[in-house]
Symmetry: C2
Subunit: 398 residues, 2 copies
């Protein structure tokens, strides 16, 4: 039996690293987990109960590939408030935003086709893209988003079909793409006839500063596909996301969704729709923001206190992650596996798994939403002290 | 913007035909819908309520790619009773059996790789396979399953990596693969080093005769992947299926599942697990069997009364479908679109969309589980009379 030549080994290893680093006794800065105490469990229970007892006899039946219409209407409305002009007909419901990545790759990428990703980027996106065997081009992420000069150089010399980006509170660096870069990125996509996949699961989770419009807002040629998700603003286990795109792209995406899993769960879609009917999602998101801002501030403060001077962190304005920059040549993966995890019971995601191929390893993604305040305090302190020891030892042996 | 060269147009058209033929005022023999009055709605409501109020704080959190362990245990046990030796570690939960088809294709098929399908076969499987651009080989379905002589001829002369089959109450013909053919098929797969994808959503739905062991039962070399589904025995809108395979195949399949949609919904898996804890699924399945046997018998009886002599149907022992064989040269698709649907408000799935490429069109799939007894009576009569008229007219013009 010979498997297909899909390069799933690397990204699968990355995902395994994530899960292994999330064992129960470990203070995990590795996962991308929401704070479970924020899940509106009772409200969702009531919503599902109401769905079960309502008079729609089709609740448990096959429904439609596009998804439950009233929920698509509500999502279109939410996107309109966020600068994306959309009606229900422009929305496809998906199994989390992850499926949106998979379907977009399926829509566009032949084997060997050029795909631009940010370096570092979301490891799960690489796991989806790997199945389509693209040729990866990695563009560095700067404090204000992708390095567009590096991008333009690639677009000028290579055949690129798709650019994957997380402009808001990027996974893993927590950075936000500036307004100027958003406009310039869309202009570049127009100029070189490239599709942009805008992954926006953290867009609603800004803790400081002003929201910027999504890339899709500046899209005049129907070449930006926008992905949203309930995972970070309601609960991941609902596994529901959505996608909006021009009709030209949406129609074949729906056909591909049908082949992938027929449709999303009508029960799940109706349950969430019922939650949205009876609850104020924006008020709920405000609660989440308040909690995560506090966690982020504690993480930044504690790290600033304990990290050695040769290590830098950023102070993200939202999202789930901050980025730890380590001295050149430092091997974050070996440090975590040989020292941080066994000695301090603390984990993070090392930079190495977050770029296609062999990327730099002197960085790490730190999640601040999953752990408790107490875990953030002790884990960040332990990380700082462990790094001090490791770097002092490295200096001695130099 | 140039899309990938994936041949999703044909199968997408097939799926669209299915949905169009299911409009509310139509008596649809087209869909693959269960009878909605059989859904255990109250019991599922209670099960989900109990899940929401239990003490598992992780209910709404990310869980694991393989799926909720207690549910995997229960499914392994059910499969053991059905002749498939499996433990929880051998089970992966999927978004319906449909995702199992997609992941298997993703695991095995490079562009152009040989794939054997039954002719005719499940249109949704073609929609999944199309994304991987295989070279299709179609093997006719006989009254006792695949034509194995035709299969062997293909295996001897072509490079084939995967054989897709529905041995029990095949979609669309309703046929069952004989015991002798089951053994011979696995032996052929061993001999030619091919993987078999055994799609078993209807296995539990036998109305007459004795159950035969699944292909996976005869698999000594770990080359049969078995797919199961809750869609037909609980409810389609749960969108939950499962897959079992050898460790060698299961491990990369799990990695691919992670890339496709991270994991299945923990809430959904726990809700179903809770249903299984508190209800007797086999007793529920017995109810379904009783209902569908009655529907099937009425459909067969009515068609036998009204169909012209030149048309044949089979009398399947289980499942969702029976097959209508029409005279050579008859165009089932044109008949449905131009006559049956506009004049009699009855629909079916014409043979043409159920084979890769251009297949014969003188056949149709008739579903007997979705429509009511009254609809079956009047729809089957209308179909018979409409065919009589069409065939008489065709004879006149010859």
């Amino acid at each position: 039996m010979e498997l297909a030549q899909r390069n799933y080994q690397t990204s699968a290893a990355g995902l395994e690293t994530l899960f292994a680093a999330s064992a129960p006794d470990v203070i995990s800065f590795a996962g991308g987990y929401p704070d479970r105490s924020l899940f509106p469990r009772q409200e969702l229970n009531q919503a599902f109960s109401r769905s079960f007892t309502n008079d729609d006899s089709e609740l448990l039946q096959y429904a439609s590939t596009a998804g439950y219409l009233p929920l698509r209407q509500k999502l279109a409305q939410r996107m309109c408030h966020d600068g994306i002009s959309a009606t229900a007909q422009d929305v496809l419901l998906t199994q989390g935003a992850q499926q949106g990545i998979d379907l977009t790759a399926r829509l566009l990428l032949n084997v060997g086709d050029g795909l631009v990703v940010e370096g570092p980027t979301y490891v799960g996106a690489l796991a989806a893209f790997d199945a389509y065997q693209p040729t990866y081009y990695t563009v560095p992420v700067e404090a204000d988003g992708m390095d567009l000069q590096a991008l333009q150089k690639i677009l000028m010399t290579k055949q690129v079909k798709l650019i994957y980006t997380i402009p808001d509170f990027q996974n893993p660096t927590g950075t936000v793409m500036s307004l100027a870069k958003r406009k310039a990125l869309v202009a570049l996509a127009n100029r070189y006839d490239v599709v942009i996949l805008e992954d926006g699961p953290y867009r609603d989770l800004r803790y400081t500063g002003e929201n910027l419009p999504p890339l899709r807002h500046f899209d005049t040629e129907g070449r930006v596909i926008f992905l949203g998700s309930f995972s970070k603003i309601l609960a991941p286990s609902l596994r529901l996301g959505w996608l909006t795109a021009s009709a030209e792209l949406l129609k074949p995406l729906m056909a591909l969704k049908g082949g992938a899993d027929v449709e999303s769960s009508n029960l799940m879609m109706q349950g969430i729709d019922n939650y949205l009917q009876h609850n104020d999602l924006d008020a709920h998101i405000q609660q989440i923001r308040t909690c995560y801002r506090q966690k982020k501030e504690l993480m930044v403060k504690t790290l600033r206190e304990y990290l050695p001077d040769t290590c830098q962190i950023n102070d993200p304005q939202g999202g789930f992650f901050l980025w730890l920059q380590l001295p050149a040549g430092f091997d974050a993966e070996a440090f975590m596996n040989n020292k941080l995890l066994p000695e301090a019971n603390v984990s993070f995601v090392p930079a190495s798994v977050m770029t296609p191929g062999q990327g730099p390893n002197n960085g790490a993604r730190l999640n601040f939403t999953g752990p408790s305040l107490a875990q953030i305090r002790s884990g960040a302190k332990a990380l700082g002290l462990s790094l001090r020891a490791a770097l002092a030892k490295a200096q001695l042996s130099n």
